[in-house]
Amino acid sequence: MSKPKVAIFDFACCEGCQLQVVNLEEEILDLLSVVQPVEWREAMSEKSDTFDVAIIEGSITRREDEERVRAIRERAKVLVALGACATVGGINKLKNRFAMEEVRRCVYDAAADMPHLDTYPTKAVGEVVKVDYQVHGCPISKKEFGYILRCLVTGKEPFVPTYPVCVECKMQENVCRYEFNEVCLGPVTRAGCGAKCPSAGFWCFGCRGLAEDPNVQAAREVMAEYGKTPEDLQGRLQLFNGGKEQAS
């Protein structure tokens, strides 16, 4: 089998997910045995116009980004959304709650009118083009990235959990964050991270987006059980799931 040519493109993000890929270390040689990177800004200087697989990191925040990602989609046989910014819009969606003019002024002040800063409400990659594979998380899990890439090159649909993080929290034998009287997004967030944050003593921030058919209404009601309010929950949800939360 000839190795598929892979190009990684970054949009609005911190590029931390690409860094996770670079951080694969020894495994990166394994990765190179199944794919051939042809454009990857963090790891190589070459650029290429021909590729089979496009990996998109970051979210779409300007009209010109939208055009660029559409052009990439047209050339790619397979398109992968890499990381929360790409899969769910991520932290970039926080700004969608404000007027764009206000956002521009606040961040760039006097430079706000520069043409390349013409920001618009953040979109996940899947809101603009068809996405074939999603690698969730902020940042992505190296292990899951490897697994999904292997599925991709063998034409297999990967198993990506649709159930909540609680499953993996139990597998890790964590004590529920609610027992520490914290608002945790685990019960409504898609698993697959191995419950990293709760295992390290934090609540779940919801970076992998909502689980399938999340019971958000139950979450609101349950807040009272713990002396919390639905607003406490809403506040937590805004970080990664701002768009979705407002829709509900």
Partner: protein, 350 residues
Amino acid sequence: MRKKPTRKPTIRKLTDSALRTWVAGLIRRQRVIGVQADGERFAFKPLTRAEDLRLDYDVTKIPPKKLFQPAAEPLLEYDQAANYRSIFETEPFVLFGVHPYDMVAILQMDQVFSEKHCDAHYFARRQNATIVVCDVQKASPNVFAGCMGTATIRKGYDVLMTRVGGHYVVEAGSPKGEALMEGLKNRPEADEASLHRREQVWEDNAKFLVRHTLRMKPAEIPALLQRSEDHPVWEEKAARCFSCGSCNLVCPTCYCFDVRDDVKWDLQGGMRRRYWDGCMLLNFANVAGGHNFRKNRADRYRHRYYRKGLYVPAKLGGEISCVGCGRCITACVSKIANPVEIYNRLLEER
């Protein structure tokens, strides 16, 4: 049939320091998994120092099923030519400090994994284990083993320990247990007074390990469920269910699993593993192509209680597949997973 010579089991009396010496000796010779403090709670973990063993625990976060059916367990290796080879865990270990209700659950799992088709992966681990059961010394916040008849146990363990006053009574329950107690042969036999006090502990545990009171005999649960399929409690509770599977995963008698293959980077060979799964999870009853045969939250919620109280008991000769450990009650964020509350409701509002 020739009658087996009945030998009286060895029963010894052990002080705390004698216990520590014994356990330290075991650790030197083999793998010992024991109950230890883990953060604010307790867990079964590999024991490296006898002092870490906490037989005064209330309940562990996850039941000992994880030793026999780990959360992620290799089943097979394969290559591209479809050579599949079984992988078995073969290292013997001592499992120290299992509570009676968890031992009852293990005995139930022995039955479901051997029924009709024997699960060699489960039994590879199971047969390698020597289980030391310890009677409960401290009730956990949600235990109701006293209602389920599982507060004490008189069979199935290799060794049974009971704290009476300032020492332990230690009794062998199998040849494996006798072998494990070889190291105690210089310790005194348990005296009448200790044995008497042990009876008292059993009576007390059956009476007091009842943080929730089931208002029926467990044997009445199957018939109760048979007429409760349309009870409003299912919809009512399920409205607050996250379908997060926590109640499944912490349950000592939940054993459903998923099986998935991964391929190595050479894209040639790989491994087939099984993972804990749960019937409360949304896609549990999905078939290829996506149709979900149990899409409704309330149907999944009901299914779990029916499994515990009706379906699995049919495989177990009527024994209820809930041992009253109360872990589901603690683990449920929504506080909708109290089996006692459900069964009592069904009884009261027919």
